[in-house]
């Protein structure tokens, strides 16, 4: 069986090393989705936060959705201007 966690870790390390914000944000958002399926809220919010920061830094439109997801968990405040 494939070790999902270590595959993800390797991909994250590679994206961090390249400074690839788009890839980082995508990988962390995937990890958040997985944690959501596992119903591990702290892990979800950790990964969402990582995805959110990369999206913010890179100027990705997905920052808005990530912000909303964190707000729904009560872990972040609304950044209305991200919607525009």
């Amino acid at each position: 069986m494939v070790d999902v966690r270590s595959d993800l870790d390797a991909a994250l390390l590679a994206a961090h090393a390249k400074g690839d914000g788009f890839e980082l944000s995508r990988l962390y958002a995937d990890a958040a989705d997985q944690a959501e399926r596992d119903q591990d809220t702290d892990a979800v919010c950790f990964f969402l936060t990582q995805a959110y920061v990369s999206a913010l830094e890179t100027g990705l439109p997905s920052a808005s959705v990530l912000n909303q997801r964190l707000v729904q968990y009560g872990r972040e405040v609304v950044q209305a201007d991200l919607m525009s």
């Binding site: 702290d42 919010c45 950790f46 969402l48 936060t49 920061v53 999206a55 913010l56 872990r75 950044q79």
Partner: protein, 384 residues
């Protein structure tokens, strides 16, 4: 080495005054005083708008040890921040770069908008929690440094106590109001810098005066003679020189640079060169302007950043003329290097008393000394 007694003679009329004492050029303690009382207390030039032309462009600048960050925001405005994260004081941006979204601190990833607002504080309330009652984001934005852009020069007043730029420089703005129009940087060929082993003030002083022209710039003498120059001196504000015989640079094929629109006749053959205290040297002509920022790197180390601007973008200018104009100016500025470095060396002579001004020729230089001395005395009185 405190020299308040020496400054009394600096503040006299030019005929009786002495120049600033040696300590102002060679004593690290006085350099430190000038940092605060002169360079941080007034509107100093630290950069050019053309270096951050697009939204999101960010450029770190070290101004006498103070880390600053120039950022062009979504509205096209230039902002200057202290380049220090509000969390643990990490330097935020170390290299010029394009900020695509947020300014992210490389340490714990607090993120700031281009307008300096604190956008997020990841994990600040524990893993996965980005909020905390005691982290008030609206109180933790980037610290803004007072800035003003004029003629593409970014001026800052670090201590925040100076009069507004338009007030502090009202006389000069009025004098040169005909040049308040769009200017275009001439591109890579219109940009150069010189490293000079001198105190920044000597570069200002040399720029103010025309007395040295026949000796240091003999090439200018053929068409721009000493008697064609006049002094510019506004006590407490600025000084420099003007010429009555500016001649446009002409290519072999007879092409010249386009003129700025709507200039009065005075500028047909007139040009002016003014030291915008403390550290910006400017020149205006019918067909180009330039600005020199003197970056005071250390007591006896100055970088001169020279940028030349035209009435139209470089692609509309005659072929090769931008290069030729830069070459001509660079020759002049390089000719000045040995004197500003030589005056720096000369000030190691402990018997030098600040020097004796020519009442006829050194007024603009004295005007600068008077301004520096006034600022130093005011600063000393405040911190006493």
């Amino acid at each position: 080495m405190n020299a308040p007694a020496g400054l009394k003679t600096v503040l006299k009329d030019v005929a009786k005054a002495k120049g600033l004492p040696n300590a102002h050029y060679i004593d690290p303690a006085v350099f430190e005083e000038e940092r605060h009382h002169v360079l941080y207390a007034n509107w100093a030039g630290i950069g050019f708008g053309k270096d951050i032309p697009e939204i999101g462009d960010a450029k770190p600048v070290d101004f006498l040890g103070m880390p600053l960050l120039l950022v062009r925001d979504e509205d096209g405005a230039i902002n200057v921040y202290q380049n220090t994260c509000r969390h643990r004081g990490m330097i935020l941006v170390e290299e010029p770069q394009k900020i695509r979204g947020a300014i992210r601190c490389p340490y714990h990833s607090w993120c700031y908008t281009l307008k300096g607002a604190l956008r997020t504080t990841p994990h600040v309330g524990g893993p996965g929690t980005n909020i905390h009652d005691d982290i008030k984001r609206d109180e933790l934005g980037l610290l803004r440094v007072r800035a003003h852009v004029w003629q593409d020069v970014v001026f800052v007043n670090i201590d925040g106590q100076a009069a507004p730029f338009e007030e502090a420089n009202a006389g000069l703005l009025e004098r040169w109001k005909e040049f308040e129009k769009p200017t275009f940087h001439g591109g890579a060929a219109a940009s150069f810098k010189l490293d000079v082993k001198t105190n920044w003030k000597l570069a200002v002083e040399n720029y103010c005066e025309s007395y040295h022209l026949p000796w240091v710039h003999p090439g200018l003498n053929s068409y721009s003679r000493l008697e064609d120059h006049y002094h510019i001196e506004e006590r407490g504000f600025y000084s420099g020189q003007g010429t009555l015989v500016y001649r446009q640079l002409t290519s072999e094929g007879g092409a010249v640079f386009p003129d700025f629109e709507g200039l009065s006749d005075k500028w047909d053959t007139g040009a002016e060169y003014i030291s915008v205290y403390p550290n910006v040297l400017m020149g205006v002509h019918r067909d180009h302007t330039y600005a020199i920022i003197l970056e005071p790197v250390a007591l006896a180390e100055t970088v001169e950043h020279i940028e030349i601007y035209y009435a139209e973008p470089p692609e509309h200018l005659p072929d090769g003329l931008v290069e030729a104009n830069s070459k001509q100016w660079k020759e002049v500025f390089v000719e000045d290097v040995f004197v500003v470095e030589g005056m720096q060396k000369g000030r190691q002579g402990i018997l030098f008393d600040g020097g004796k001004f020519s009442p006829a020729m050194d007024g603009p230089t004295h005007n600068f000394h008077h301004w520096v001395a006034t600022n130093i005395e005011a600063g000393r009185a405040k911190s006493a």
